[in-house]
């Protein structure tokens, strides 16, 4: 009975989110950015005048699919995932629909659990779409250049997809937490992006080389751990956010810990606070 009600809440949430145009726009932006920075620009560099400074043809071939497509998850794809998470929950505050939903009798935590499930599924769709895009682009490059077509092994593909899914879900849940904590959409997105795109980079590029304890702090922050994880999975060095601060194991564990903490704290705040 409880399982049926939970599934009903998940189905309600799915209908709500799948039909929201903003989510598809985010997915489209993620695909276009990945295609542009992982394939189009490197390909233009390889075939153009600056070919000698390009990353080389090998970096665009299907064998590099995993690293190429999840390289953006620590920063720009992560930012889009964070916006997705904010929208999933923050919309209920913006449109004041929490009262409409909760007046139907679903307990808050059950509705929140449905949102977590849908956010997690949405992150999976995002990563799979990026992998599919990367596969198509890599195949195109190989065919255009007459290069051998070698796909990553299935385990490598699964581990890479899992790593990317873990990271995007972690950022999406950060968005969920910000939306619940700040009860809205605009401020959570603004603050989340400031952290993800500015503060995180300033800490790693400017502060960490100068101050030892900030360098140590990098080892427990979500961004550098996500960057280390994708680096271990084959993301090209030099991509914004990709780093080697910690090993892949620690990176995965720390990112998973943030995911759990964001989820639990978000659920607790929603359960505890008044819906005004």
């Amino acid at each position: 009975m409880l399982v049926d009600r939970v599934l009903a809440d998940v189905r309600a949430e799915l209908r709500k989110q799948v039909r929201r145009p903003a989510h598809w726009l985010l997915l489209g932006v993620a695909v276009v950015l990945t295609l542009t920075f992982a394939y189009v620009i490197p390909y233009l560099g390889y075939t153009g005048r600056s070919g000698e400074r390009s990353r080389g043809l090998e970096s665009m071939l299907p064998a590099e699919l995993v690293g190429n497509t999840i390289a953006g998850t620590p920063v720009f794809v992560g930012a889009l995932a964070l916006i997705f998470g904010v929208l999933v929950v923050g919309g209920e505050y913006g449109w004041q629909t929490w009262k409409t939903v909760l007046a139907q009798g679903s307990p808050r935590l059950r509705v929140f659990a449905a949102k977590v499930v849908v956010t997690t599924l949405g992150s999976l769709v995002l990563v799979l779409a990026l992998l599919a895009t990367g596969a198509a682009a890599g195949l195109g490059v190989a065919l255009l250049q007459g290069a051998p077509i070698t796909w990553p092994s299935l385990p490598a593909l699964l581990v890479g997809a899992g790593g990317g899914w873990l990271i995007t879900t972690m950022w999406a849940m950060a968005g969920v937490l910000l939306a619940v904590a700040l009860r809205g959409v605009a401020l959570p997105i603004g603050l989340g992006l400031v952290w993800l795109l500015a503060v995180q980079n300033l800490l790693s590029a400017v502060a960490a080389p100068l101050v030892d304890w900030i360098a140590s702090l990098q080892k427990v922050l979500p961004g550098p751990n996500a960057g280390s994880l994708v680096s271990a999975l084959g993301a090209p060095s030099g991509t914004p956010g990709v780093s080697e601060v910690v090993g892949a194991g620690q990176g995965a564990v720390v990112v998973a810990c943030y995911l759990v903490v964001f989820t639990v704290v978000g659920g607790f705040l929603l359960w505890r606070r008044d819906i005004e």
């Binding site: 709500k16 145009p21 449109w95 009262k99 409409t100 939903v101 139907q104 819906i275």
Partner: protein
């Protein structure tokens, strides 16, 4: 669910925001089958009370029971429209209701039924963002009906509507009540409460200051015309006490409940006085409202 439990029972229900007491030890009972008007000026604590009934706001102290049950489980037989309709603007009216029906555990067949009840079937496929305010309010009512609830909690359902929209919503609410549902309707409009409700509770500064039948809302005490008037005044004063009988032109105004009319009439006649008129004394509704609620709204 207890068989004898009332649809709504609050006991010493209190909500504080720091030093501000928004709702102050409120004891409220809404009986089965009645339309109860929750009347009060803006900022009196009506919406805060209704939100506590629905579990959207946690009480600082006191308790809420709906059909004798506490907590979220109590909402099984309750439909609500709180502080205006709120839906997803990118979905159609029908899809909004489908989403809510899943949350409510109601069958999707119910969506068509409630759209029909509020006369929105033809516009059900249109996006919510294209609806007029009146249509949005009717969709809110439809959402409240998804569970086919025995108790409807409606918070100022005609707010912002034009006269035709108001009349439409009031007629719908009255029809739903005539089907046997209990309705708790908050409003700051006296006329609205008088048109729709059976009983009214008046709230001011978070406290219930009066509770009476709507039939008594526009009356206070009795108007008596008898000959000779002076002797009638003396007799009535001896019967009801000093300060409760006033001369009002050629009549007397007696400050007693209307149900004492028959007894007083018998005494007057028994004393040989000619009673020409004895009926509930009408008072100005707005004046009555202001007297009972102690004035207008307050800043919150």
């Amino acid at each position: 669910m207890g068989v004898m439990s009332e649809p709504v029972e609050t006991t010493a229900l209190t909500k504080r925001y720091g030093d501000l007491v928004a709702v102050d030890e409120l004891d409220l009972t809404v009986r089965q089958g009645e339309v109860y008007g929750f009347l009060g000026p803006n900022g009196a604590g009506k919406t805060t009370t209704l939100r506590m009934l629905l579990g959207l706001i946690r009480p600082s102290s006191g308790s809420v029971r709906l059909y004798g049950v506490r907590g979220t489980a109590a909402l099984a037989g309750v439909g609500a429209l709180i502080e205006g309709p709120a839906f997803y603007p990118y979905l159609s009216g029908r899809d909004n209701l489908r989403v809510l029906a899943r949350h409510a555990g109601a069958g999707t067949a119910r969506v068509a039924e409630v759209l029909d009840v509020v006369d929105l079937t033809e516009r059900g496929r249109d996006r919510y963002s294209t609806y007029s305010l009146g249509m949005k309010q009717r969709l809110g009512l439809a959402a409240a009906l998804l569970k086919d609830p025995g108790l409807l909690i409606l918070d100022e359902p005609t707010n912002g509507l034009d006269p035709a929209g108001m009349a439409d919503i009031r007629a719908t609410v009255r029809r739903l009540a005539d089907e046997g549902r209990t309705v708790l309707l908050s409003s700051h409009l006296l006329g609205e409460v008088q048109q729709i409700c059976d009983r009214v509770g008046m709230i001011s500064r978070g406290s219930l200051v009066a509770e009476l039948a709507v039939a008594d809302l526009g009356t206070r005490g009795l108007r008596v015309v008898a000959d000779p008037l002076t002797e009638a005044r003396t007799l009535l004063t001896s019967l009801v006490g000093h300060g409760r009988v006033e001369v009002d032109g050629d009549a007397l105004r007696v400050d007693v409940p209307a149900d004492r009319a028959a007894a007083l009439n018998a005494e007057l006649v028994h004393s040989g006085l000619a009673v020409r008129e004895l009926r509930p004394a009408e008072v100005d509704l707005e004046q009555r409202f202001l007297e009972l609620t102690g004035g207008g709204s307050r800043a919150r």
